[in-house]
């Protein structure tokens, strides 16, 4: 299918409701909170573990976390549906303009939010300005005793202390698939790129794909009446849609 991507230059060109390129849909009715996505993300992206004390102090490095809240008291107690929170890859990302050194920038080609590890100087402004609180900071050189380094994914930079990081929509997989598609002279097929979280999800609650392709599974799900963007009122134009209700 032939697609023409108009890359808007700035806010005025990109109206609310318009679709970006890559997008994700998470069905909260299906998510069982099993944490497979969390573990898969950590394994794919060389995320460090931080140990008990730092984890308890709010320094975990999860790029994706599953939120849930309690409503009411026993016996009328209800748990809100599990909600995996990851970088929403905002169209108008609040994290981007505030970085003084352009470490947080928008990819015009992929329409996602990039974090340039090598450029980051660690002001942590982006993390403050992220309404979703999905950016994590390397507060230390987290220990990774040998031979654990054998597991590190060579497609993903291993970050060190003083650097902000966040979900990348597994851009290494996107790039790989694009290279393959290009070498075979075709467009990327729907479902060809699967980020680690969606790949692992046993309930198949996470769907990933091209939003600019109206035929794709993710586009159709994103247009479902159950769809809701997180903190939509802020006008950040998230690329992740949550499906609420049953």
């Amino acid at each position: 299918m032939e697609k023409t991507l108009t890359i808007p230059e700035y806010k005025a060109d990109w109206a609310e409701g318009e679709n970006g390129k890559w997008g994700m849909v998470i069905d909260m009715d299906l998510c069982t909170g099993c944490q497979a996505c969390v573990a898969a993300c950590a394994m794919e992206n060389n995320i460090s573990f931080v140990g008990e004390e730092d984890a308890g102090y709010g320094r975990t490095m999860h790029w994706i976390r599953i939120e849930r809240f309690w409503e009411g008291t026993y016996p009328e107690i209800r748990m809100t549906p599990y909600q995996p929170i990851l970088c929403q890859q905002c169209g108008h990302a609040p994290c981007e303009p505030v970085c003084p050194v352009f470490a947080s920038v928008h990819s015009q080609a992929e329409q996602i939010n990039l974090q340039v590890y090598n450029r980051c100087v660690g002001t942590r402004y982006c993390a403050n300005n992220c309404p979703y609180q999905v950016r994590v900071f390397n507060w230390r050189d987290w220990p990774r005793p040998a031979p654990l380094e054998n597991q590190l994914n060579p497609s993903v930079t291993v970050r060190r202390r003083g650097i902000m990081e966040k979900c990348t929509f597994c851009i290494q997989r996107i790039r790989q698939a694009e290279d393959v598609a290009k070498s075979e002279g075709r467009e990327i097929r729907d479902g060809e790129v699967v980020p680690a979280c969606a790949q692992a999800c046993p309930a198949d609650a996470i769907v990933f794909g091209r939003l600019d392709d109206p035929e794709s599974r993710v586009s159709q799900l994103a247009n479902s009446p159950r769809g809701k963007k997180l903190l939509e009122e802020l006008g950040t134009l998230p690329q992740v849609t949550y499906l609420l209700g049953g």
């Binding site: 709010g58 402004y125 230390r140």
Partner: protein, 477 residues
Amino acid sequence: MAVAAKPLPHAHTHATEGPDHRESLMFDPRPRGLMNAWAMEAMHETSWKFWAVAAFLALIVLVFLVGAWAWMIMEGLGLAGVNRPAFWGVFLVNTVFWIGISHAGTFISAILRVLKVEFRRPFTRAAELMTAFGLIQAGFSILMHMGRVWLSYWLLPYPNQRQLWPNFHSPLTWDFLAITTYLLSSLMYLYLPLIPDLAMARDRSSGWRKRLYRILALGFRGTEEEWEHLRKAMTIFAFAIIPVMFSVHTIVSWDFAMATRPGWSSTIFGPYFVIGALHSGMAAVVVVLFFVRRMKHMTYFVRPEHFDALGKLMLVISMAWAYFFFNDYIVQWYGGDKWTRMLLEYHENGPLGWMWMLMLICNVAVPWLLLWNRRVRRTPWLMAIIGILINVGMWLERYVIVPISLTINRMPFTWRQYVPGIEIPLGIGTLALFILLYMLASRLIPLVPIWEVQEGQMVHSLERVGKTYVPVVKELE
């Protein structure tokens, strides 16, 4: 024999029939030579206690600032108390605090100079030194805050092989530009009026001091041209540095106000921060003047009248601060946005609600209850205590705004309290460095701009109006 700083002709000093104005520095002239000698003496004579304190401070700086910082650079910011969601902590609090302190110098020596407020004369320099040293601490604090401080030069706009320039969209880049501008301007503005006094010191010293002052005085003699250039430059500086000063703290406030966060996103943050800065700055000037006054013969230059005048200013500024605070508060409160409401609730009744309360007590209650009283205003030690309390209050204000406000965000799942760690020794280290720099500077730099004092004494006179004598100030320019 030195020449007395006699008032200009037609003056009626020591008027027996009018009220005694001699308690005012401007009406208590002393020979210039004597004042010079006092200024020199204050730089020269030092007790062992002074050096003991300086050595102690140096040790603190070495351990708490240099040592702890080096350790933190090697280990990472994990040693500090920052976490998610409080990505900014005491380092930023200290930065804002020190920038606030630095506002006093400019306020006194620029705004009061432009407005020709005469009581400023003896302590413009003391205040300007605070500006310079305060900004240095602010610079250190923001560098400590950075995750990779060794790459902080990436904020500089310079051509490089990375084909990247700083992001001028970012409030932090504005901040960087503004603080750089302000620091450089303040240093230059400190130096220009210092040149005549350095020449004075050059004329009165020997040995290494002579060599030092000769270099620093640049060969100043006091010719008509030199004075003209200086005066022009100082006028330009006085006018130009005021908007720079306002911009600096406004931009600091924009670091917060530009963020999409409940409690931060506020249009009044700019002026609110500027007034807050002046509040802490003026209070800090009072504290510094209290200690300066205790040095040899400084009781002549720094008098209760100055504390009195500063006290009035502080009272006014405190009222202005309260006004802005209330403005900010009621808009947030009335808006009733869910997250802002939670934030305000957390400020007031959260586990650190006492900080919020104490902030209001120190910043509003203490000045309002005490500073209306002339006797309090004229008691230097009381004023120093009030000054310290206001600074505590202003530090708490920044603490409430930075880590406490960061605790609450739109993702309640991530709310988490912040507990400072290595920030505390590092903060103490910057305070020690500030005091140490000030102490050392007091040995090297005439703390009182003698020529400005003499000039002031010359233009002040008493004139008979009806049955009494009233002070009259002549304008030389």
